[in-house]
C-alpha cells in the first residue's frame, strides 16, 4: 500500500490540515516525521491530521508523531487526530497515546 500525505494551510483561519493515506511504518516513518516537522516549523500552529484514509501505523510511526507533537507543544499547539479508523484508534489506545494527542471522530464519540 502506497503512502500519501497532502497538506493545506488556511492562512485566514490559521489551520494546518494534513491528510494521511495508506500505511505509515518503519519504511517511511522517518520521511513522515521530516515532512510534518517542516510543515510545523513553517506555520507554528495546531496540526490537524485527517486519518480517514490512513490504514495502518506502527510503533515507529507513533514515535515520529510524538516527536512532531513535542515540536507543536513548543508553540503551545496540539495535534488533532481526526476520524481515524478503529484499528488505528486501537494503536493509540493500547499505547496510552490517546492521552497525548487529541483524538476526534467516530471511534472517540
Amino acid at each position: 500500500m502506497e503512502f500519501n500525505l497532502k497538506s493545506n494551510f488556511d492562512t485566514e483561519k490559521k489551520v494546518l490540515d494534513v491528510h494521511l493515506a495508506g500505511e505509515i511504518d518503519i519504511y517511511n516513518s522517518a520521511d513522515v516525521k521530516e515532512e510534518l516537522s517542516k510543515l510545523v516549523a513553517e506555520h507554528n500552529v495546531n496540526l490537524n491530521l485527517h486519518c480517514e484514509e490512513l490504514d495502518y501505523l506502527d510503533s515507529t510511526a507513533l514515535g515520529a508523531l510524538v516527536s512532531v507533537l513535542k515540536k507543536v507543544k513548543h508553540y503551545d499547539g496540539n495535534i488533532y487526530i481526526k476520524n481515524a479508523k478503529a484499528s488505528v484508534c486501537k494503536i493509540f489506545k493500547i499505547t496510552n497515546l490517546d492521552k497525548a494527542f487529541i483524538l476526534e471522530g467516530e471511534c472517540y464519540e
Binding site: D25, I26, Y27, Y56, D58, S59, K90, I94
Partner: protein, 130 residues
C-alpha cells in the same frame, strides 16, 4: 475450503533485514488470518503484532550483523501461531533487551507471547486465538 485446511500447514517467509519488506510480512499475516477465519479485528491485531515483531528483530539483526530472518505462520485448532526467528549468531547476547514499547504493544495485541534466546538466536512466539 476443504478438510485439508485441518492439517498443519506451515507458511514460511524468509525476509532480508530491510524495512522495505515489513509490509510483505504484514500482508501475509493479514491474508492467512482472514483465510483461517479470524475475525477482522483479530486479523488487524495479528497484522500489528507481526509488524512490531519484525521491527524488534530488524533492530536486533542490525545490531548483531544478521542479514535474514524467518517467519512461520501455522494455523492451529485454537488460532494462528506465528514464530519469528533469527539465524544462529555467536554474537547474540544472553540477555538482549529490545524495545520495551514494542513488547507492550505486542502483549496488547496477541493472546500468547514469548521472546526467548535459544541456540544463540532470537525466537518470538505468538498465538492469536479464535
Amino acid at each position: 475450503m476443504s478438510d485439508d485446511s485441518k492439517k498443519e500447514d506451515v507458511v514460511e517467509l524468509t525476509l532480508p533485514v530491510n524495512a522495505a519488506y515489513v509490509s510483505a510480512a504484514r500482508l501475509t499475516a493479514s491474508s492467512i488470518s482472514n483465510r483461517i477465519g479470524l475475525k477482522i479485528e483479530s486479523a488487524e491485531d495479528v497484522k500489528g503484532a507481526v509488524s512490531e515483531a519484525c521491527i524488534y528483530v530488524i533492530k536486533f539483526c542490525q545490531s548483531y550483523g544478521e542479514n535474514l530472518f524467518k517467519i512461520s505462520f501455522v494455523p492451529k485448532d485454537e488460532g494462528l501461531e506465528i514464530v519469528i526467528k533469527t539465524n544462529k549468531n555467536p554474537r547474540t547476547p544472553e540477555d538482549y533487551e529490545g524495545d520495551e514499547f514494542i513488547i507492550r504493544m505486542i502483549e496488547a495485541l496477541i493472546d500468547v507471547f514469548e521472546i526467548k534466546i535459544e541456540n544463540q538466536a532470537i525466537e518470538i512466539y505468538m498465538l492469536k486465538k479464535f
